[in-house]
Subunit: 279 residues, 2 copies
Amino acid sequence: VNGEPRTSGDAHVSARDRGFTLADGLFETMRIRQGRAFRLDHHLARLGRGLLALHILSPAGMREWVLGAIETAGPGEEASLRLTVTRGIGAGGLAPVAAQPTVVITISPMPVFPDRIYESGLAAHVASGRRNERAMTTGLKTLAYVDSVAGFLEAQRAGADEALFLDTDGHCSEATASNLFVWTGSLLLTPPMSCGALPGITRASVLELASGLGLDTSDRPVTLEQTVEAEEAFLSSSLRGVAPLVRIGGRAIGAGSPGPVTRRLAAAYAALVARECGS
Amino acid sequence: VNGEPRTSGDAHVSARDRGFTLADGLFETMRIRQGRAFRLDHHLARLGRGLLALHILSPAGMREWVLGAIETAGPGEEASLRLTVTRGIGAGGLAPVAAQPTVVITISPMPVFPDRIYESGLAAHVASGRRNERAMTTGLKTLAYVDSVAGFLEAQRAGADEALFLDTDGHCSEATASNLFVWTGSLLLTPPMSCGALPGITRASVLELASGLGLDTSDRPVTLEQTVEAEEAFLSSSLRGVAPLVRIGGRAIGAGSPGPVTRRLAAAYAALVARECGS
């Protein structure tokens, strides 16, 4: 917390921190492997763009703090790291005051994703609420995730693993905390930022890898019908990586099981993480 | 914090609290006058509906905690009180875990609103981003206020006092943390929930007062053009009360100064607060 090492039970922020009172901040979640954060500089660059957009002072030396936290925690083979930056302590009201930003770095064990996610694939529920592709903070990874939490709860009640959000125009946007990819007609599609999708770091890695494998890719609007009728679909995120999406609202995508393109990209992504983290 | 009295510098929450990490919680802001919270039961009822919608356990005895906090703080003639309830400490990831909710009650001096707000009125900038009238959490007062903060920053840069948000359909929705009222053709209009407006407690009080004064009221969609061309407009919120809105994007509303209906309702609202808080 602000560069001071803390144990989990002793890591606190002020109850007047604007991150807590107004979600007035941003975060990044990274995968740590063999003591190295995968694509740390990409995450820091995205965070930097968000801080600039929200006029939050960029704390000096964040990269060093992240590296120091990893070293202090000695996270072992694999872990996850969350970097949160808020505008700092507020005086009440919305008007930003000149404050020292609050920086919290949390290192946690890598979440255990059940094998069945990768072997059998995920089932998604179409969220009743829409993503807003024209919000003030569209494209920024702000702390405002309560809509995703509500979508996740709705998906759970519907017996699904994930919620898929449409944008206000009815195009596919993203899942609760992952980007969507659709393989259809020999083209790998992923919703663009203009459909409210977050510019995911894993999303960018997957687009790179797909091009490297000679696949045609495009970030253009994708309808729900196109997704359900696609040959394959998958979700991408930093911790879960490439996760097959095989069912939406009870309808099977393709054969209803992870397809060959998804498997190829999942393997390529795992290899990329291993390679860049030097193992 | 969770029923324990704390001074401002000593009021902390866990850095893993889902209110801080995901905006996974709700809040209410109330005006305290002569040791009494104005319309406490209305605020608690709205909070209760939000907790239910988000499947957050409703902490027992919140009313008593609020009353106890007011007594402990001895807030003097006037103060503001914020009641925040979050899902509690999380384990990482979106999936809600069974947690004790976190309850924070903050009592602060009543913010000082410059006299010119009431005497000359506010100027609003039309926010470049839209409110989402079809989000999972539309109508709930969640912690996700970063869009309002970004709208406020944009308004400041434009030299305005407030940001007015349109919904994704282009209707007027609300300001950063106030409801909009428009007086036009002998009718008092206020955007409905279906345009993304929050069901404000002050909004409800104003509708009551207007009916009591024999004015016709309606909560139906209002266009930006209708608002700019109206005879009068004002914003309502718990702390600022009824604040005249006299200018939008450089265009004057009516005479460009607070009108008689706004003044009448502002006086009626001030009298209502004084009456209900027993002074």
